[in-house]
Amino acid sequence: MLKYKRLALLSILTFAMFTLIYSINVAQDSSHNQLPQNEAVSSDGQHHDDVVSATDHAESGAGHAEEKLNAGKIIMEHVADAHGWHLWGHTEIPLPIILYSSDRGMALFSSSRFEHGHKTYNGYMLQGQKVVAVNEMGEMDAHHATVNEEITANIFDISITKNVASIFICCGLMLLIFTNIASAYTRKRKGLAPTGLQNAMEPIIMFVRDDLIKPSIGHKYEKYVPYLLTVFFFIWIANLMGLIPVFPFGANLTGSISVALTLAVFTFVIVTVNANKNYWEHVFMMPGVPKGVLVLLTPIEILGVFLRPFVLMIRLFANITAGHIIALAFFSLIFIFGQNGMGVGLAVSPLTLVFTVFMTVLELLVAFLQAYVFTMLSAVYIGAAIEEHHH
């Protein structure tokens, strides 16, 4: 019993620590976004000339840019994708920018060239987090550059953004964990009782296979197990990575609509490719329904075919993003109150800390739940598509 209590205490402390790091990140972000100049900002010793722009210097030097704290903006920046991986203060890891435009060809350079959007490079510059083409080809101050709308419309931006890097990390982590486990099954501990990571993952794999996939798909389930297991663990690991606020985690990966969309499209493709005659019959010509009703029913059924993956996408995206937004919003409360004086902010912080810990624990549940729901619904859709009806 004592052991479990100690574990519980340890996990609570871990979450408290993580949320504290969150708060520090948000605090430094608020200083980065030119918000109330308080001691936290001036004590920030991370200023490097090469990463801090001239305007930052000008404003922090002036010290009277009393802009209103824009919590919404901070939160959205945290939730959205970025071309650099922000670590702390003004330090961020630059990520490669890869562009293809039919007019200018391929371009590959580091995002540090843009200097946080203050410089143009090679005829491109950052507008928010979007790369746009400019008319001027040399390096110059971004504020004086003119955007070339025509070329911008034809840019294919396949940069390694923060989310793309996170995808790679997540995939790498998955491969590392599961090939390791696989080798435990086949080589290291073949024929022995499972231990450690293998022991931890086995019940989850068994749970997904036996309680999620098998009942949803039926006896022809084995073909789909690798895909569905991969989806489950990808979403789960990505969700958990999103909850850990320190590098190399913390990207809002599954809360990105593009990632959710891709996963949903994969499920849609698998469903459509494997669907049997029976499935299409139920879509276009629902058996046992009068012709007149079919006029009404068939469009609904066709819509349903596309609606299902769409709902999959929205559910995953909305749940994870919402969780991130709420957790960050609770934290921003500290700084919103902090605008009325540091004491107020400090006074509010324990309460918001409790809220954020609560939200993070809740998100831990949601992380599993969303992976579960996405996998189960994918399995259900596949099951419906390959179901055989014996009339």
Partner: protein
């Protein structure tokens, strides 16, 4: 809304990496893991079945042993009874034989005794007759030495005859 706008680059990388990961995971992770799990499941169920079978066999064997033991016990009883009967029979037979033999011997002995007795009696009779004749001869010889005595004897004998 930037948040709900799909980005080409992200979809591009996500599709590629996810496809690769599904492929790699299928080949190097899920394949071995799932087949090992299945193998283990079948081996466990096989082992359980084997254990069940062994248990049944043991139960059968116990019953068999019990049966054999019972049989052996019965056989032993039968053997003992038979032995006892044989023993009794032998004893009885011997006793009967001994009786008969004894009787025969006794009869023989009795016959021999009778024969001997008869022989002895005959012999005794002969002896007595002989002795009597001798005595009588001696007496007659003595008594008939004078006439008087002869007369007296004849008288006496005649007296006896008359009395008869």
């Amino acid at each position: 809304m930037e948040l709900v706008k799909p980005e080409f680059g992200l979809i591009f990388w996500m599709s590629i990496s996810f496809l690769i990961v599904v492929f790699l995971m299928r080949k190097f992770a899920w394949g071995p893991i799932l087949s090992s799990l299945k193998e283990r499941e079948t081996s466990i169920s096989d082992a359980l079945n084997a254990a069940k079978k062994a248990k049944e066999e043991v139960a059968n064997m116990t019953a068999e042993n019990e049966r054999i033991l019972q049989e052996a016990r019965n056989e032993r009883d039968v053997l003992l009874r038979e032995a006892r009967e044989t023993k009794d029979q032998i004893i009885n037979e011997s006793r009967a034989k001994a009786q008969v033999e004894g009787d025969r011997l006794i009869t023989l002995a009795r016959e021999a005794i009778t024969n001997e007795k008869m022989a002895a009696i005959t012999d005794l009779k002969n002896q007595v007759a002989y002795l009597s004749i001798e005595i009588a001869e001696k007496m007659i010889r003595q008594k008939l030495s004078n006439d008087e005595q002869q007369k007296a004897l004849v008288q006496e004998m005649l007296k006896d005859v008359k009395m008869n």
